[in-house]
Amino acid sequence: MADLRRTGLFDLHLELGGKMVPFAGWEMPVQYPMGVMGEHQHTRAHAGLFDVSHMGQVILRPPKGGTVADAARALEALVPVDVIGLGEGRQRYAMFTNEDGGILDDLMVANRGDHLFLVVNAARVGHDVAMMRGRLGEGVTVELISDRALLALQGPEAQAALERIVPEVAEMRFMDVAVLPVSGGDVWVSRSGYTGEDGFEISVPEDEAEGFARALLAMEEVAPIGLGARDSLRLEAGLCLYGSDIDETTSPVEAGLTWAIRKARRKGGARAGGFPGATRILGELEDGPARKRVGLAPEGRAPMRAGTEIFDGDEKVGEVTSGAFGPTLGAPMSMGYVAAGSAATGTRLTGEVRGKRLPVEVVDLPFVPANFKR
């Protein structure tokens, strides 16, 4: 697979029997011998270790003599999120928006005292870094981290496993971030993830990453998990995949991400608007969007995958953006956009699968309740 990048754990993936596939310009494990279903179940029951080193780790530093609030203020011009109000040692979900109110990428932002730490999607690293360098304004430096791996340890036994190496993580709550010393350097830990489970994302110096991963994998609770299970886990958790469920044509309000837009940035808030696409986004917050992202539960066992057209009676009202079988749910599950008039929970619609219109019901997300340590 020419021209694909490899993470620092590539050899370890091969040793573990990982089946490597191209993903966002990287050669990544889609599954290990346990298989997607087994890896999914293992993560929900114990702890799964994911290599997410392909994601972009970015540090935003304020201008010389400035504070983290200066970097936060600059970032607020690109996201509809309250970054200034984000406390030290805390992390928040955000999205870059465009002038049309669409989503350019979704990301995590952490306040680490004197700077911000961002994690962005692999496929959007180049775009995001170039955009921030061009638009954050004078003095804010955008540093793309290239010498650290990023691991995610997810599942109800994630803390029990990780605290054997980094005891301080036991004190962290959901969405806390911390820089913690280990032998060989610091690890940057956040108590978060993208599976709906309790867990951590851990940024490790590249030289230490393989040893760190091996130490975790040696524990009984921990198994390596590939992209296949990562996708079914996040879909059960009702979480969006950038490029599938959200993109430049979907607004955060249509996507149901309004919880990420706090009072301060809404109409009447202390820093209302002031981000790209504010007119559309604030308008949709007031009046409601024309279409909404919803959970869709097919009645039979046939999965309705991305691209499946959704009908209300004879009228096409939307399309599936992600669909798969939910191993924990024990049933097929989809999400997608439908016209607002067809989006109420319990609405019975049909989805066209191989020429047949099959019944599907609008349901609340997530499909599987989250299990965070609040």
Binding site: M37, R301, R354
Partner: protein, 119 residues
């Protein structure tokens, strides 16, 4: 037993041909989560798409290997699609068909040739 390039196996049993997919195919598919079978009594032509298999990865079709009539389908797969991963060559047969012309089977591979093909 005969094998197709589409990774189906065919076994003559009395006056019907039993059809399933190979273990190799089931491994490639990954965990199977849904199987849609044809109706019993359906008359099919060779290469008609008659079974849909959905795995955790994707949907794929199984083609009718012969001209003939579907006389029985394996309902156990509807309730337990995972059977395909557990016992592809045995319990997880898909359908039995009455072939119009059994000589159509001659073009398919024997086990040794199939093994060569999958390497």
């Amino acid at each position: 037993m005969k094998f197709t390039e589409e990774h189906e196996w065919l076994r003559v049993q009395g006056d019907v041909v039993v059809v399933g997919i190979t273990e190799h195919a089931s491994e490639q598919l990954g965990d199977v989560v849904f199987v849609e079978l044809p109706d019993e009594g359906t008359v099919v032509s060779k290469d008609d798409e008659i079974v849909v298999i959905e795995s955790v990865k994707a949907a794929s079709d199984i083609l009718a290997p012969l001209d003939g009539e579907i006389v029985e389908v394996n309902e156990a797969l509807t309730d337990n699609p995972g059977l395909v991963n557990e016992d592809a060559m045995g319990e997880a047969w898909f359908f039995k068909m009455k072939a119009e012309d059994l000589s159509q089977m001659d073009e398919y591979m024997d086990e040794a040739k199939y093994k060569d093909m999958i390497g």
